[in-house]
């Protein structure tokens, strides 16, 4: 059984006590309000980076110079509204080209964004993350928080990144030395949702070309949609190669979460509220943390904080537990 479930049983927090009384409706209303600012930010970012309105009207895509730039989240560059390029698509385009076998441009971009904010991108700046967030809000009698094999399955995204984003486009090439974007071609439901379906609706010629591959990708999208209703962000947890890359930076990124151990009362409220099944008291910068901020809001003692760190000096709102301890020992 998952540890999160164990904490559910042994919970003695004031919030849990509240949930047992008739104030349940009031609590659920509060929870919705808590997530609203993040969803607004996600929606605004999605709208800004997909604001080529003419594309949606004419069934074309944007062809300007901005497409040289990558956007931080999963955002298919064939979406009719897309102004920038998907880093995963760009990576495959460069490593699969005959001219280059390594992309300093995209690796540098992923390093820059990852080292700056880590998986904050997943929580706040990814259009497909928003899509899954909204799908998970659809009521269903029994939502699945965790299941047997959940943790090992999370390693799948790293394997997908290595095989489908790097190795296959790099080595499985045609006579001209060009490789296909295998992740986009065989797996990515983002391209189907953001580009395939809109373009096929708007463009009759493309509709005529859709065959087995489109049906295969449509099936993956439908499975992703159905699973997203049951499980929180299944694509992010198990499949997304971009999340896999950013996760490696979570521990060292400039923007970090912090736990003040002197304030933490181990009530379990943070791990209970986390939909990615992270326990912030064990590691508040876990590989799986998408930095949605729910744990911080749920903490009754405000032990969790976040902010930018520069040269070991905290710039956020409260002190680090690690920063406090040496001062105390110095006094004694």
């Amino acid at each position: 059984m998952d540890k999160t479930d164990k904490t559910n049983k042994t919970d003695a927090s004031p919030k849990n006590a509240e949930s047992k009384n008739p104030g349940e409706k009031k609590k659920s209303k509060k929870k919705k309000l808590r997530e609203a600012p993040r969803h607004i930010a996600q929606a605004v970012w999605t709208a800004v980076t997909n604001s080529y309105v003419a594309g949606f009207l004419k069934g074309r895509i944007y062809q300007g110079e901005l497409k040289k730039l990558c956007v931080p989240g999963m955002n298919c560059y064939s979406c009719p509204g897309a102004l920038g390029s998907c880093p995963i698509g760009s990576m495959q385009a460069v490593v699969g080209s005959s001219g280059f076998k390594f992309s300093y441009y995209v690796v540098g971009f992923l390093t820059l964004i990852g080292a700056l904010i880590g998986r904050f991108v997943c929580g706040w700046l990814c259009p497909f993350g928003l899509f899954q967030d909204l799908l998970h809000k659809i009521p269903f009698p029994k939502k699945i928080k965790t299941f047997r094999g959940d943790k090992p399955l999370r390693l799948l995204k790293y394997i997908i990144f290595a095989i489908f984003v790097i190795l296959l486009p790099m080595f499985l090439t045609n006579d001209f030395g060009n490789g296909s974007p295998y992740f986009c071609k065989l797996i990515c439901p983002v391209g189907t949702a953001m580009a395939g379906i809109p373009l096929l609706i708007l463009n009759e010629g493309m509709r005529a070309l859709a065959g087995f591959l489109f049906r295969w990708k449509l099936a993956i999208l439908i499975i992703t949609v159905l699973l997203s209703i049951l499980i929180y962000r299944p694509f992010c947890k198990y499949i997304c190669p971009l999340g896999a890359v950013y996760s490696l930076f979570n521990r060292i990124s400039v923007f970090k979460y912090r736990l003040d151990e002197t304030k933490c009362v181990s009530c379990g409220a943070c791990s209970r509220v986390c939909k990615m099944n992270v326990d912030p008291t064990k590691n508040c910068n876990s590989l799986e943390c998408i930095r949605c901020g729910l744990c911080k809001k749920a903490c009754p003692t405000k032990a969790i904080s976040y902010g930018f760190v520069s040269g070991g000096v905290k710039v956020g709102k409260s002190k680090l537990a690690e920063d406090i301890k040496p001062d105390k020992t110095a006094e004694t």
Binding site: I61, Y62, Q63, G64, E65, K67, K68, C70, C76, Y77, S78, S85, G89, S90, A93, V94, S97, G99, F100, S103, Y104, Y105, V106, G108, F109, T111, L112, I113, G114, A115, L116, S180, P181, C184, K185, G191, T192, A195, G196, L199, L200, M206, A210, L213, F214, R215, W216, K217, L218, F249, R251, I252, S253, V254, G311, G312, P326, D327, T329, A330
Partner: protein
């Protein structure tokens, strides 16, 4: 008594800013050697693989 210097903590806090600089340098280097042009040439055409046609 002075607090002990924790080297791992210093590494953890300095790795982020350092990688940001390395990342930015790699972006510039990649741009200058023409990678952005490859991305642009791919991204301005409808990606048949992405939409599930080609």
């Amino acid at each position: 008594m002075k607090p002990k210097v924790d080297l791992s903590k210093i590494l953890l806090t300095s790795a982020g800013p350092l990688l940001c600089i390395i990342g930015a340098a790699a972006v510039i280097f990649g741009y200058l050697r023409g990678e952005a042009a490859v991305i642009l040439s791919k991204a301005i055409m409808v990606c048949m693989e992405c939409i599930g046609i080609g």
